[in-house]
Subunit: 313 residues, 2 copies
């Protein structure tokens, strides 16, 4: 039976000063979804590596909802059956819901030979991700689709900007053994923020984008400051300040919470420094949080979600 | 007697999405200050074109305070006498206080042959401007010193970024006959802002900086949106929405309030469109506000404040 498998990368969103609008794709970890033609509707045949925690019912599964949204948008009456292979820990703050949703729409799009425009894929994946994250901001979905460093100027109508990536810019992500409920992390922010904090945030955002364009690593580092989300969410992550300090001491340009956590990211100049930073952050996480942790050192993924195999048999 | 005269350009601050952190310099209008050596302290000999409204006492005059700050910072016990020639209408929202303060420090620096670093000139000018505007943000002073399009990432320690200027980017400024008290315009903002508005603002800031780097005029236009100050200050300017619409209809990329107003600015692609926009905005200002108005059409000034004459006699 014909099937198509797509991969979508993990993503770090917020990235210091870009709450709800900025994200980048990791080169390595991600989710895979295989789509097969089926008589009707969307079904989930199988999910691997989720320890049985994700819903098998399509209407309650991010990949299922994303696939349904794409079929509806295309006006395609055929059905698809999905198999999902999680390559990311659940609720890690690495855009796992987004990666599953994106892999699903890319797999279904290829299976149906629909060649849907990029923005439609993003919009459909976002419908799936909304289910998991309760958020309508494509700051994980967009970089997972496009790869690279992506700014969402406006979510709807969608206006996304692919930012340049300075050569050598390397990401470190440490995922500690800690549960954070996204809705709780969001509630900590409240509905209003001090104007003075907001001003700092958009000054840093301008500086970060300028730094990426000019490959000014020092400026990128100064701009990686979160005046909005991180100070309010810090209580969720024991030892956050010490872990960030360990990253800085080891040579990171900057560090912070990935998405709504619990994963922590750092950006570094070059792989060598990134390896040292990964070691220092992992040790600090062990000291302050304890338990096991996963660590990912990677460049910013130059490419986003893609078909990795297609079988006609 | 030895004297030095410096010119400092008018500036548009805020620039849509850059409240308190972004500004650009106009190529043309500005203030001039002549400095002469004097036995001690700072005195104001003369002020032209202010209709007698500016304080002659140095400690209460922006140029006087800026000059005092520079002398103090340099540890120079000499005194200076200043003559100020206003080329900008008072309280116009075009950085008039900043221009006088900047021209003063540049003139005094040259007179004393001090060659103070740029950031010291900005800091001293800011002390003067604070007197007039009550604000500590160098979003007028920095572009008046540097020229061009300037982002203030951080006011203290000062971290400023000179952004690229796309060829052909042209500014239109219309100054209507309307008084706005800066302190009142500031009070309208309150101490907190909705998080959703703030998110829009930093998304636009990132998009604007990216658009300037890539000379993407359409994107610059989309990013010239103010989610924070303008909606709250709109009641101060009768017909603001209609005047902005007139600018857009005539081909402007975007338009908004310059600083805390009452001047209105637009950015345009090329001089030809800018002339049409100037005409349309002037007509709309006449219709909705009435009275006389001044209009300035100029490129973004490539250079900032500078010595324009020095006499040794």
């Amino acid at each position: 039976m014909r099937s198509t498998t797509a991969f979508a990368p993990a993503t770090v969103s917020n990235v210091g000063c870009g709450f709800d609008v900025l994200g980048f794709a990791l080169d390595g970890p991600g989710d895979e979804v295989t789509a097969r033609l089926a008589p009707r509707d969307v079904t989930i045949d199988d999910i691997q590596n989720d320890a049985g925690r994700l819903p098998r019912e399509a209407a309650r599964n991010t990949a299922g909802v994303a696939a349904q949204a794409l079929l509806r948008a295309l006006g395609d009456a055929r059905g698809v059956a999905l198999s999902i292979r999680k390559g990311l820990p659940l609720a890690s703050g690495l855009g796992g819901s987004a990666a599953s949703a994106v892999a699903a729409v890319v797999a279904v799009d290829a299976l149906l030979e629909a060649r849907a425009p990029r923005d439609l894929l993003i919009a459909c994946a976002l419908e799936g991700e909304r289910l998991g994250a309760g958020s309508a901001h494509p700051d994980n979905v967009a970089p997972s689709v496009c790869g690279g460093f992506v700014l969402v100027r406006h979510p709807s109508p969608l206006d996304i900007i692919e930012l340049p990536i300075p050569p050598g810019l390397t990401s470190v992500v440490v995922h500690p053994e800690l549960e954070i409920v996204t809705a709780h992390a969001r509630a900590l922010l409240g509905e209003t923020v001090p104007l003075a904090d907001a001003i700092r945030q958009w000054a840093n955002m301008g500086a970060l984008v300028d730094g990426l364009h000019r490959s000014d690593f020092a400026q990128i580092g100064r701009a990686l400051e979160d005046a909005i989300a991180e100070p309010r969410r810090a209580p969720l992550i024991p030892g956050l300040a010490a872990i960030k300090q360990a990253a800085a001491d080891a040579g990171a340009l900057g560090a912070g919470i990935s998405g709504s956590g619990p994963s922590l990211f750092a950006l570094c100049r070059g792989r060598e420094i990134a390896d040292l930073v990964a070691e220092a952050m992992t040790a600090a996480v062990a000291r302050h949080i304890g338990g096991a942790s996963q660590v990912y050192v990677s460049s910013i993924a130059p490419a986003g979600a893609r078909v990795v195999s297609a079988c006609a048999s």
